[in-house]
Symmetry: C2
Subunit: 291 residues, 2 copies
């Protein structure tokens, strides 16, 4: 590796940790703002480590490092997982060839990131996904994004979510938003249903223009998420909903499951290379119906 990545890895790791802390604090605050018979949710944090792994796993890869799963089951957030992970190791050749620069690093990689999926009690509050990550092989880059999946579509939510992401992108480069919005629409698509997973957002990957610039943008994506999503939650969480709306929500969640297990690259790659199943599948909704 031609650059010295150590300091960059440290900075990015610290950011993902701080962002996780800020998101968890804000979501716990939201829990206290709703009157309900259900108990107020608090995040439970579960660290995991694979540092004892010296031998290749069933995929032929060696995975070391670890992470922290933060999971909350509450009165507003039915199930929300916020994972951070800092992993490294060696991918087996069949996996390394799918990762930029990993052939040149002989499969060696380092990756850190934050990943979040929120499934809400109220069908009026949209489901959301946010993930940003830094990966280093023989090169280093950022990737990530945020996207919204309303259970019952709401034009204003969609507009405001996209406006926030566009403003975030435009601060850095006016070319970002149209490109990353389109990437998101293409990525979160279920061909077997000919349906989008939700109403989109932004998605970017292999971003290696300039480390400082890309890191600043990645931080902004996280901060923007932390500003806009709580607004959408507070907008709807006090409203009552019908059994029919709940049913619609449970069925729509089935599409989320189908997408994640059939198509999501991170899920498929993670499970195939022997990643942490509990962390990867924290994205599964708490309750789902295929009636």
């Amino acid at each position: 590796m031609s650059e010295n990545w150590d300091d960059k890895k440290t900075q990015a790791t610290q950011w993902f940790r701080d962002l996780r802390d800020n998101i968890c604090a804000e979501f716990e605050k939201i829990e206290t703002e709703l009157e309900s018979e259900k108990p107020v949710g608090k995040f439970e944090r579960k660290p995991w480590s694979r540092d004892e792994n010296e031998e290749p796993n069933h995929s032929g890869s060696i995975l070391k490092g670890g992470g922290e799963i933060s999971l909350m089951r509450g009165r507003v957030f039915e199930k929300v997982g916020v994972n951070i992970s800092i992993v490294h190791g060696n991918f087996a050749p069949e996996f390394a060839e799918k990762i930029p620069g990993a052939a040149e690093s002989k499969g060696e990689f380092w990756a850190a990131g934050i990943s979040l999926v929120a499934h809400m009690q109220s069908p009026l509050v949209p489901t959301v996904h946010m993930n940003t990550r830094m990966i280093v092989t023989s090169k280093g880059w950022f990737g990530g994004g945020a996207d919204l999946t309303p259970m019952i579509e709401n034009v204003n939510d969609t507009k405001d979510f996209h406006a926030a992401l566009k403003a975030c992108c435009d601060k850095h480069d006016p070319a970002y938003y149209p490109e990353y919005k389109e990437w998101c629409d293409k990525y979160f698509y279920l061909p077997h249903r000919d349906e989008q997973r939700g109403v989109g957002g932004i998605f970017y990957d292999y971003k290696e223009d300039d480390w400082e610039k890309d890191f600043t943008f990645t931080k902004d994506v996280g901060t923007t998420f932390l500003e806009i999503y709580p607004q959408l939650v507070r907008r709807h969480m006090h409203k009552t909903w019908t059994d029919e709306q709940r049913e619609t929500q449970l069925i729509k969640r089935g599409r989320y499951v189908e997408y994640n297990l059939l198509y999501d690259r991170g899920t498929q790659f993670g499970l195939k290379t022997g990643g942490n199943t509990e962390a990867i599948l924290m994205s599964m909704p708490p309750e789902v119906k295929w009636p």
Copy 2:
């Protein structure tokens, strides 16, 4: 194709249809044997046809033919789907290369079969899957099997289910049962959980020893299923269950979803080649939890 397959295709198709009728009749009979406030289930039958498809779909394959989805939501059977399909067409090269004899037939194929998944109201009644099929490319063969997924394990159910399948296999060849049991165990395995999907059964494929012999065996697998599974249902369906057992069932069903969407060859291949999504995903459980 060196053999004349027309009469064989007709015979197999008729068998799959007859078996479907007999299974549906037996399951509807079971519905009337339980006292419950819920309405007695009746199968709803939905035919589908793709005969208008002359052009390749998104996968580059041409799929023609059709089938019938029979779906029942009842007081014993929470959701049971029994599909038959008789399809033909041309697989795109990337799919054809995965199917024996399809390179030689230039992608041309014919397939008929029956596929069944039953998700039960009671967590004390095991989930079951049964599928048999005949496929013709430049060669022709049978495949299929049946396997049991208890929500709460029951040693006698497992023993009796396997004993019935073993007796069925042994009538044809004493080598079948050990080979097909092992194939089933290997197939219905979730590597990311290091768990079996259920307690197994038998699985066989590419069976082209002798058409008459293989057809007779395939018919026997269907008949054996129709004898043994209703016994297991009637054994447990009158018993009451606890909320905790229901919860266990809903979580166990999540593993079924994970298996079918992440690993099941038929599901993945079917969805990727543009098969009928509604028919393929009738296997999804009616209600599932990932708490």
